[in-house]
Symmetry: D2
Subunit: 394 residues, 4 copies
Amino acid sequence: MTEKLRVALIGTAFMGRAHSHAWRSAHRFFPLPLEPELAVLVGSDTGRTRERADVLGWAESTTDWRAAVARDDIDVVDICVPGYLHEEIALAALAAGKHVLCEKPLANDVPSAERMTDAARDAAARGIRSMCGFSYRRTPALALAKQLIDRGDLGAIRHVRAQYLQDWLADATVPMSWRLDASLAGSGALGDIGAHSIDTAQWLTGERITAVSATLRTFVDRRPQAAVGGELGGVADADAPMAPVTVDDAAAFTAGFSAGALGVFEATRFATGRRNANRIEINGELGSIAFDFERLNELEYFDAREPRETQGFHRVQVTDAVHHYTEHWWPVGHGLGYDHLFTNQVADFVTAIADGTQPTPSFDEALDVQRVLAAVSESAANSSTSTPVNRGTQ
Amino acid sequence: MTEKLRVALIGTAFMGRAHSHAWRSAHRFFPLPLEPELAVLVGSDTGRTRERADVLGWAESTTDWRAAVARDDIDVVDICVPGYLHEEIALAALAAGKHVLCEKPLANDVPSAERMTDAARDAAARGIRSMCGFSYRRTPALALAKQLIDRGDLGAIRHVRAQYLQDWLADATVPMSWRLDASLAGSGALGDIGAHSIDTAQWLTGERITAVSATLRTFVDRRPQAAVGGELGGVADADAPMAPVTVDDAAAFTAGFSAGALGVFEATRFATGRRNANRIEINGELGSIAFDFERLNELEYFDAREPRETQGFHRVQVTDAVHHYTEHWWPVGHGLGYDHLFTNQVADFVTAIADGTQPTPSFDEALDVQRVLAAVSESAANSSTSTPVNRGTQ
Amino acid sequence: MTEKLRVALIGTAFMGRAHSHAWRSAHRFFPLPLEPELAVLVGSDTGRTRERADVLGWAESTTDWRAAVARDDIDVVDICVPGYLHEEIALAALAAGKHVLCEKPLANDVPSAERMTDAARDAAARGIRSMCGFSYRRTPALALAKQLIDRGDLGAIRHVRAQYLQDWLADATVPMSWRLDASLAGSGALGDIGAHSIDTAQWLTGERITAVSATLRTFVDRRPQAAVGGELGGVADADAPMAPVTVDDAAAFTAGFSAGALGVFEATRFATGRRNANRIEINGELGSIAFDFERLNELEYFDAREPRETQGFHRVQVTDAVHHYTEHWWPVGHGLGYDHLFTNQVADFVTAIADGTQPTPSFDEALDVQRVLAAVSESAANSSTSTPVNRGTQ
Amino acid sequence: MTEKLRVALIGTAFMGRAHSHAWRSAHRFFPLPLEPELAVLVGSDTGRTRERADVLGWAESTTDWRAAVARDDIDVVDICVPGYLHEEIALAALAAGKHVLCEKPLANDVPSAERMTDAARDAAARGIRSMCGFSYRRTPALALAKQLIDRGDLGAIRHVRAQYLQDWLADATVPMSWRLDASLAGSGALGDIGAHSIDTAQWLTGERITAVSATLRTFVDRRPQAAVGGELGGVADADAPMAPVTVDDAAAFTAGFSAGALGVFEATRFATGRRNANRIEINGELGSIAFDFERLNELEYFDAREPRETQGFHRVQVTDAVHHYTEHWWPVGHGLGYDHLFTNQVADFVTAIADGTQPTPSFDEALDVQRVLAAVSESAANSSTSTPVNRGTQ
């Protein structure tokens, strides 16, 4: 009988729903050494949380995250709430000896992320694992890209071109939400989606961003209060009072990488028609890869060592038994969707817990993303002047 | 408390795995009036079935399908075994008053499909529901295509162009399997994947195929016995004995439709590089749709009523809250994968059971596909001469 | 000083215009041993022909094709008129010792094409060259495909999938034109565009179509007489009298090839939204190619011998110095257009004339296409029954 | 009889070849009021220039540009030489009362461009026309984009995303050429290809770039001297001496636009696999357009005012009789290539000369691009600090 891994999940919205599916499904597809058990769901409203727990498959529900985190029969705390709440919960969970999976970005600012990382390091010494939920790392196509780059198939990297384009705020009548309030979300497009691009770029290249030159832009600075809220979108009353948007609508920056690559990054929720175009292209001396999450099962790969006559970007369907993650899913050509990223992520996290190894991305890696975010904000506030990423004494 | 719907699933391979995930997941995403309970998994080997039941989440396991089907505490029988077994199980299940979901093609020949359809009609009179698993109908992009055609946005249909292209048999060393044995599978590419194209084409257009002119082809007529079998693929020993392939490797046919459209169909497992290209394009007087399962979250839609200047196929990301099925899943641009089709299918089936309505495709509709398959085989055996689809006195 | 090659071109419409540009341009890009001189343009109306000659760059104009063809100072006769006129002009030109370039299809029926071919063979014995204008052979991407297939990179060919899709007749109010009159055009979509697919398929594979099973369809059988005519399209008066359409609007057929490949062909002018989708895909044991003229500078190439992990269709930009034809044009990535096919064609034709070699496609090859067209028509008239291509005693 | 417009073309390389084809062809497709006559080609070597004149269709040849420019029988001077030569020739030509077409970028620095612009303004007062060769403006797809934006179909513009990606320098063994020498070319990727992006962006949006934050990068700072030179590429001897590369290999910058749009620009010759990806995407409040020159006949257009259900980027084939430029070319779906841009450009230039109107882009507009280039260089030299575009007292 496989031993259980009892999970408390905090958060009942979009991410809570995605994580629940992953906790329910991972051991059905991956041969996991520990079987996740959906022990308790934590929300802010008693009735609503109970109802969500039933729907999502959690045995219990509560509104008291402190109690949940402190329970002896909980092994893992999964944090799916807005960024301003991450630190307090993560610190409590780690102190209580729970493995922690925390949604990205790790925190709303660098000092908070540093405290979390310090706590994670201490906990690691006691065998407690922590990981940040940069879920796009679990896209099979990007896992293949990583593999190609790691083994040198692209040669020296010259260009990183990352765009994360959404359009759900392009309409100025879309109402206010927590994602548009700096005190809750930390930043806007930058931290919400640009953080993914930064993590993906550093992870894929194995290089660190050393300096950035950035611009932030808020196109619509006041929005109506939501009457009926969706997490992304929602509907406002015609006569709803207006609230100030205190985050960036778009972020753009160039970046230098530690081994010499030149990066160009853009994150926006105003790219009309681009629903969720999380794109990255990397050009190396010997080859290139290109990816767009709108076609998540494909990797474009160019190999300049092939005969010139038939060179061209390969449209690789990364859905095969020879590919990481998809070996556990369906026959080739039967693609995966968004939620599979989370299931793959849980599989990796549970495996690391069972093996006693450090899951990735660690809080350290997530802190590094936070430092890049801080440099971006600083550069933007300083006439886009090139601003080094402050990594202290590292 | 939602009432339970207790399911027995027969079959532990590819389809059994996909259906299990669907039965586990549907009520987590759709507000179902009945909650599926994974009661019993039926397989052919006791130990292996027990192990699969644990992995896939079934409470019990057995190798005795007759007993499982007869159990009072079972409400639904889900048939995921090769076609030659469908009839016997379906008849027993319907006789026992169980709702039946049966994988496609409905049977290996028309008489068998007719007996099943008769039984399903009798059962329907007693409130027992039955449905055939043409799962591609549950692709959100195709559901949108159906909606556009139904409301007349394409006008009179002129062309149906359907291809189902795979390549897993292109290598002549891929070993023999049940799918290549006519006595077990009925036919080859024709029934396995061509049947999907036929069903999709008739369903989308609302027209029936009236006559076909067909060619069947077997490129590799002997294959080594599998040493280690995958369901699609596998590995053969170098000195494995050879077995005859008794089904078609490829099928091609033109078709007339009841309201005048001209169809061109092709199904093959020898289209090197096409992993699972289930494609359909429909051209009408006012517009067209095109779909390829390799990009399952997209529908191409052309509207000839638009200003000519900006006419062009729309690449619609069918992942939105305004789209059927995806309204229950993720935010726009966060696509679905192969398994979601089965989850959507279970949601539809369970809803129909609860509502007391006929789920689609009914056995009648699946029988109709079977009749087209028979006409294809007959035409192919008769110098491709145009052969009417025999629908008896209908 | 390069010797001149004096050309008489017969026809002033779409093809006359394209050929004129080619005759003007070929020696500007290709190092030709003979320099084409645009000597005389032949049309049906004196004033109009004079005006077109000025615009298109011809020194003289006339309405008397017999006189033009008989002139001692003419070396080449280029036939760009409807099919029913091909034979008489070609025979006169060949008899007069002129090299002949004749637009496709070679003739409106097989006997006519046979007489032309006989004459061409006789003329060849006297050093007179003749060629049929299957211009798509001059697409660099298809020239690359040919090269790959010829050297075995696709292995044994299993599938040929050719579609030529246009939509300019989908609107039932588009007026009558010579292309819709069987007495002038021979056939409809079949001969006009399907002929291209047949030629391309036989040329690329090096195999011959041995038998076909076909369906022809006319969706709109009466159209208004054109008031203002475009060659493809035009405008009809509201009260224009109606004229019968006597050709096929669409043709579909399956085909067997001499070395065992299975072909599926479709030609139509009713594929709403497909402007000029001349597509071909060929699947072999070792690889595949796919092409669509709507993206004429690209060839998709799949190589099954590559590591499975990064297999995928290469999107080859066939615009490089290493590619046939494009070595004479622009730097890589600076694509060609439709008219370049004709310029490339003239370059090949002039080179063959100067070298004293047989240009391709010869009238023999074009006759073979005609025989396939005849078999298609015969099969369609005979309940789609499989009909061998009649090649006489060959 | 159409009056002649006698042209002197200076430059015999890539651009000279493209312009020659355009001067030969424009009046064959466009109903021009003046017929270009290829009077004299000017090169640097007598024999080579004579040979190129014969090949390219010029009546005379010379190596003395001053004499050619001064000839009474010359109406137009077309400047196709490296940037450092533009000013002297243009000034002489304008002083001599010749209409001037000058390749881009207008000059190698702003003061030079200002002197040219002053001269052009003076000449304009005397009825002399001048234009800068930003040829991509003549792409039908971009002409359509311009039309959509001008009439408000995109609404307020939020994002401009322009990339010009090539890869011909990615290989460090590609030899030195004039394009890599700052004293001849002014800058590298920035002026050569980035200038196109800047012009396209300002032209399409009708907005001006007000400030930039930029990075320039040289990846390979020494290259072997070319033994056999191609203009883009070439071959070096193994023991060739090395020469310093004094220009940028890549440029990246963010930009603010006058009406509030945020721009992200990138120009590089190191994007392995991207042969000539001149891309631009513009997102507005109501819609978006996207373009990639590798598919030059297509415009992607998104209209957010359409029903959400079928929203999606239209793949518009901009090859129709309803589209600008292509109305003069071939039937829809029969695409254009690279050289057609130059033919379209000549048609526009000749028409403006005949009509006595100012052709676009004027030297003023080209000067404006030069000022943006200068701001980019200045920002790059100043830690990427946001740098206003200096437009003097404008």
